[in-house]
Symmetry: C2
Subunit: 204 residues, 2 copies
């Protein structure tokens, strides 16, 4: 039992690493099995298809990331400081990825959205749910900040979406320019999007 | 001569359509030739590799898009209205794509950035240049708006980057949710990012 769980875990880890470097479409099951050191028969014991594996990789990554996002965004810190902490954690994660792989790999969910949301409806649906959950988490913080009079948005959900969209857009640039420091702009961007008090250096 | 130019154009059009629907990595030269109705020998007469074709598709699309962006962003309209027009044109283009293909295909440059910027340095470099040119075009408008006292940013380039990042992030959501109307938020987002006067309905 220990051994079969190991094999599943190994396939998932290897698949996630390969997807982060190479994308999903060009990967084959045989290649994944070879890299994981697992026979092809075992693969189909755990996953009925490559798409099932893709969904499991997505779920596993979101399980980890949701735990991190929840800890940060539902902490006792002041609302805007929780968002700041989220951006700092995002930059740190992209920097760590760059130090391991040599390149910024970006957001797994954003990568898969642009690569294949139009080709695999089950994957599109799962990614929609994940981004909606991200927006839910940010929306609660925006509502807290608004209740304290710290931001001036009228539409908490629209504002939360714009913050997550900004995050995805800046992560795209961090990946393209292989430069995690691009993410340093997120804090100022977020304050502006929320109509919060903007730090003095960018004030008019 | 007319016929060979036709063949090159046919390969480019078919390749762009296939990349928009399926991405780049999983496409093969044989498949592109078959869809274009062109023998494989002709392909290699025009393009020395699949990557050379990818670069040509990118260049051709940017040639068209740069013409549109330049016409809009360097028009005689007031600066912020030029940006508004850019977002409306983006939404209209994604809607037209959806009506043709059934799904929002997103931004070719954003798609290719997340799919393969870490795998093909010449493509990464070309995409960097294109996004820098987009930021250049937006930056000029931000500077105009600032000179007129309509926005309060201190860093025109940083602000222009945040606008283009927001565009990419919201196009990502428009693609994921197959909903071009997601792009309607761009105008309000942009006013907020630039510290412009926000329309009354979102004011504090």
């Amino acid at each position: 039992m220990g051994r079969t769980s190991d094999a599943r875990e190994k396939i998932l880890s290897v698949a996630q690493a390969l997807i982060e470097v190479r994308g999903y479409s060009s990967l084959g099951v045989a290649e994944i099995c070879k890299a994981a050191g697992v026979p092809k028969g075992s693969f189909y014991y755990f996953f009925e298809s490559k798409e099932a594996l893709g969904l499991a990789v997505i779920d596993r990554h979101w399980e980890d990331q949701r735990r991190d996002w929840t800890a940060i965004l539902q902490s006792d810190a002041e609302p805007l400081q929780r968002l700041r902490k989220l951006f700092e954690a995002t930059e740190a994660a992209q920097l760590a990825g760059q130090q391991t792989c040599g390149t910024v790999s970006g957001c797994l969910f954003g990568n898969l959205t642009l690569e294949l949301s139009n080709q695999a409806e089950p994957i599109r649906k799962r990614l929609q749910e994940i981004f909606d959950e991200q927006v839910d988490l940010v929306e609660l913080v925006v509502a807290d900040a608004r209740a304290r009079g710290e931001v001036t948005v009228a539409d908490d959900r629209g504002a939360a979406r714009s913050v997550v969209a900004q995050l995805e857009g800046q992560v795209l640039f961090a990946k393209l320019f292989n430069d995690p420091q691009r993410l340093e702009a997120l804090w100022t961007n977020c304050l502006a999007l929320l109509g919060a008090k903007v730090p003095e250096q960018t004030g008019g």
